[in-house]
Amino acid sequence: MEITLKFYRFSPGNGSKGDFQEYSLEIDESATVLDALMQVKEDQDSTMAFRGSCRSGFCGDCTMRISRRNRMACSTTVGAAQNEGTISVEPVRLITTTKDMMYDLDYWVYDKYKAVEPWVETDEKAPDKEHVVSNKVVQDLRKVMSCTMCWLCDEGCSTMVVDRKFVGPLALTKAYRSVFDPRDNRTEARLKNLSEKNGMWDCCHCYEASEHCPKGIDPTERIFALRNKAIKANAGIPTVRNHYRSFAKSVKSHGWLDEARLAIETEGLTNIKGQLKQVPLAIKAFRKGKRPLPYFLHEKREGRDRIKRIFEKWEEND
């Protein structure tokens, strides 16, 4: 089929913001967008700059915004990407480029990756025989290890839109791989590191990362697992720890959430500044008739004893 390829051109030296350049070519609709790009580069314009290595979805190199959707060029067919014979190819939006489609990977990907110390570390003496890790654990970790760092999860991330310093689901998925590896014994230090500013607690668990991941790794659930582990290990930032504890306490005792108590306890009972910060909103809400009652005034739900028993049983099992 004949297609028009609109390819984003950008040169840092010429002062322009970058723009699309159009190329016409004949190519089979079952070919991939990466094939189309290579064909144009070989036949028409050798100055085009883009990345692409394995051509089969293994290396994660060719992540692009293709016809306004973020995907890998080697895993997207021309037929699926074209819209009335036109395919647009531009950089993903949350990463800067050094030329055309060449991403500044050091800053946006590798620095964050390195920050989570993505290697297994132990101070135990090397065993006489190899470490035996259960099949179940290996299967789980192998899934995470299939991450190609294509960056689609970070590109979809809701938090990254407002704060690009956020460590992001990609690096956190890599962190999961180390934290849940039974051979690693730096769990506590790792969870503390992940709880630093711009760390895992900035994730809003919107499931965008899981929706964007082409490998089905489910980064959102990995981040949930890291956070639950941190809460159990008493890591995490104080407001978050307070929030989790207060939430669980009120559901356990009343059967449902005591929102007013949650707001008070999240800030910390002795945190005067934090409590005062909430006063204007509380007054405003009260005046409008929003008056959720806290603690002993909070209505106790029928069946709360049964709910409490579930919590107690869980605590026993834990």
Partner: protein, 293 residues
Amino acid sequence: MAYAFFPGCVSKGGCPELYPAAKMVADKLNIELVELKDVGCTGAGVLSQEVSDPVNARTLAKVEKMGLTMMTICSTCQGVFTQANHRLQSDPEYRDRINQEYLASEGLRYDGTVDVKHFVWILDEEFGLDNLKDLVVHPLEGLKVAPFYGCYLRRPPELMVPKGFEGRKTVLEKTIETLGGEVVNTSGKGKCCGFPILSSSEENSLAMCGDHTLEAKGKGANCMVTPCPLCHLELDGKQDDAGKHKKQDIDLPILHLPQMVGLALGFTPRDMGLNKHLVSTDEIVDILEGVRA
């Protein structure tokens, strides 16, 4: 039509206008709601699945006995239930373990047969938007509404928008049009509202809230509608702070989905509890009464 009604915590707590609005609207539509009172909070994604799955399995077991579909009015409750239900339905061993360890002592057992649906899905898939249109007595003419889905009504897509239910992707838009309103589309309608990170990262949370409401406002919306009371807590409750964060006034009224339906069905703004919102809803009321164009 009868449903086991799971009102959630926020509709009786931080958003007390939602619960009566949903009840009144359901009543008007002859949808019978059998309220679940003896059940626990879903955990809202905060509580670990290790404890929230048994609590939610208990709720589902009770609904299963009733032989009804369960209705939610909160996207977060819906999301948590859909995911918990999926784990319990797809893994009989896991379900059996929860039945034995947590439910058997109460004489309960969940066999995985319950369907859980948000009110807006029920309107479209079971009640029918054509039938709803026939009942509109006060079309939302002149009202430009930005739909805001938030996270959990659309993701994870394989569970929330499965094959055969693709209409869920645009259910808010369809509902707005059915009621006579004009849809204002925004790029952030399916993104996070910011509420889940309010306690850990307030600046980012307010930035999200500000971005969504300012985009809607910039595109001419008179209001925004959401199927999630947690999104409402953020978009309405924290909008003032978001405006300060963005250094501009926003003043965009945020409606709960049942309120919007109720206004078109002839309920007054006060009936629907619009006076309880933190952001003034006067502009909407004026438009609907023909005061403003």
